[in-house]
């Protein structure tokens, strides 16, 4: 029923920080290296913060035009995790 596929792996992410735009557009993860592939994101669906104790985690729901990726940035440990993928449109 829930089409999300669990991944939970650390990934390399290239992020662009824009000087203008709405609060949903300032930080934009542009590319991600996952396995042997480089995925280029075309849309940021939503960014929202969530807390795990003192740690602030920023959740980025990204799309490459066909799949959706839930990325999490741990603002304390400075690591990116790919949590889930929804395949296909």
């Amino acid at each position: 029923m829930d089409p999300s596929v669990l991944v939970n792996e650390r990934v390399d992410v290239y992020v662009v920080y824009r000087k203008t735009g709405g609060t949903n557009q300032i930080a934009f993860p542009q590319k991600m290296k996952y396995g042997n592939k480089v995925i280029t994101f075309t849309e940021l669906g939503m960014r929202h913060p969530t807390e795990q104790g003192k740690r602030m985690i920023h959740v980025f729901d990204m799309s490459d035009g066909s799949n959706d990726y839930r990325l999490e940035f741990d603002a304390e440990r400075l690591v990116w995790m790919l949590r889930t993928i929804i395949y296909g449109r």
């Binding site: 029923m1 829930d2 089409p3 999300s4 735009g21 709405g22 609060t23 949903n24 557009q25 849309e43 669906g45 939503m46 929202h48 913060p49 969530t50 807390e51 795990q52 104790g53 003192k54 959740v59 729901d61 799309s63 066909s66 799949n67 959706d68 929804i86 395949y87 296909g88 449109r89």
Partner: protein
């Protein structure tokens, strides 16, 4: 024609904002591959769970709020059901509130997906711009700050009732004004029970007096409404409400706070059930203290697999505030339960009073317990919920997750307070 009914002729100053299918749309906003698909969200996916919010695509197939998972799948086998993601909705709620606050200091969230902006005394700030123009601007800001897929309905009226009615006229993504020029036409197009606040109970009472349309409701005299239909001052309220006069801006008193839980395994043993109830007691305690109130009444209720229910409540002379006291009283009530397989459990605290006016205790112990509770609340606020909790709730904490409640805004306001 309009003047015959004594409508409020004031320029409409109330704007009602309604996020369309809020939770479902937040999921579609976040995950583009889900857009255009029938989906719903539920608090916890289980065999008999129900949809707490459905996307417009699901609604068009007949899958609505409250629909069971099995019924939804029968209607549409590829139905997507997701578990709620509270931080995501909290973010949407916070951003919507922030946008609304830019337009007036008088805003009020009526539920987790709708709120009111009162534009009285903001004329200078808005420099003669019409509310319709401002409504379009708010729609655009929602797209920029929350996301391009997110839409809202905007309703403008002379009072809360008419503004909410206007917001419901053209869903999704509508913007409508109800004023003296179109109010009769709007009422003519609506059914009696389309009116907010008129459900089966009041609907039956009105129909019993041959009032079966909004227009007939409008034509009824205040005396008829008071003496024959509502048999209370509610009749006068409705007489004013239908004419655009404000009667709904009163603050309601908080009557109770509580939590409930659907148990996955009805044959769970006693220690598991006690741990879950203890966990519910602690989270109810957090809610109680976040509202700065104390409670004298404690109620525990259970639903059994055979469809029967059980409830036990008790009013105490002294009020409760700390987790320890709440659990102590709740557990005593729980011990009185009849035997049987339990499917749902809940508890609530009632007879609330402000905790700022509590009488000082003569006994040290109570003060110590309250200080301990305050210290625990502060630690949990700083390091995250349930960093410190009773060891007895360990099992319950594993299973009972924080879920999105229906209706009120308390949960999100609690998050905002701690954010």
């Amino acid at each position: 024609m309009a003047a015959d009914f004594g409508f409020n002729k004031e320029n409409p100053q109330i704007m009602w904002i309604d996020l369309n299918s809020a939770f479902a749309m937040a999921e579609q906003q976040a995950r583009p591959s889900l857009r255009g698909k029938p989906l719903g969200v539920t608090n916890r996916i289980s065999r008999e769970c129900c949809v707490i919010a459905a996307s417009y695509e699901a609604k068009s197939l007949g899958i609505k709020t409250g629909c069971r998972r099995s019924d939804a799948v029968a209607l549409y086998p590829k139905f997507i059901l997701l578990e709620t993601d509270p931080p995501k909705y909290h973010n949407v709620y916070k951003k919507l509130m922030r946008i609304m606050k830019d337009y007036s200091i008088n805003i009020e969230m009526k539920s987790i997906d709708e709120g009111i902006i009162d534009f009285h005394n903001t004329e200078k700030m808005h420099q003669g711009r019409s509310l319709k123009e401002i409504g379009h601007e708010i729609k655009q800001r929602v797209k920029e700050d929350i996301g391009s897929y997110t839409t809202i309905n905007v309703g403008i009226g002379a009072n809360r009732f008419l503004a909410k009615t206007a917001a419901g006229l053209n869903k999704p993504d509508g913007l409508d004004v109800i004023d003296t020029t179109n109010i009769i036409d709007v009422y003519k197009k609506l059914e009696l029970q389309d009116l907010t606040g008129i459900a089966d109970g009041f609907g039956s009472r009105l129909r019993a007096q041959r009032i079966d349309t909004p227009i007939k409701f409008l034509e009824a005299t205040e005396q008829t409404l008071n003496k024959q239909i509502f048999k209370s001052v509610n009749g006068s309220y409705w007489h004013k409400r239908l004419r655009g006069y404000e009667v709904d801006n009163r603050e309601t008193n908080l009557g109770m706070v509580g939590r409930q839980w659907v148990i996955g395994n009805p044959n769970a043993d006693d220690s598991y059930l006690r741990s879950c109830l203890h966990f519910l007691s602690e989270t109810t305690g957090i809610k109680l203290r976040s509202r700065s109130v104390r409670a004298r009444g404690v109620c525990v209720w259970l639903g059994y697999q055979d469809g029967t229910g059980w409830k036990e409540r008790k009013m105490y002379k002294t009020s409760v505030h700390s987790n320890q006291d709440i659990w102590l009283r709740a557990s005593r009530l729980f011990e009185q339960r009849p035997k049987g397989a339990i499917t749902t459990m809940g508890m609530y605290l009632y007879k609330l009073s402000s905790s700022n006016h509590s009488q000082l205790s003569l006994f040290d112990d109570q003060e110590k317990a309250e200080n301990l509770t305050t210290a625990m609340d502060e630690i949990n606020e700083l390091y995250g919920s349930f960093t410190i909790h009773s060891v007895d709730t360990l099992e319950g904490k594993k299973h009972v997750k924080q879920k999105i409640p229906f209706g009120g805004t308390e949960y999100f306001n609690l998050l905002l307070k701690t954010a």
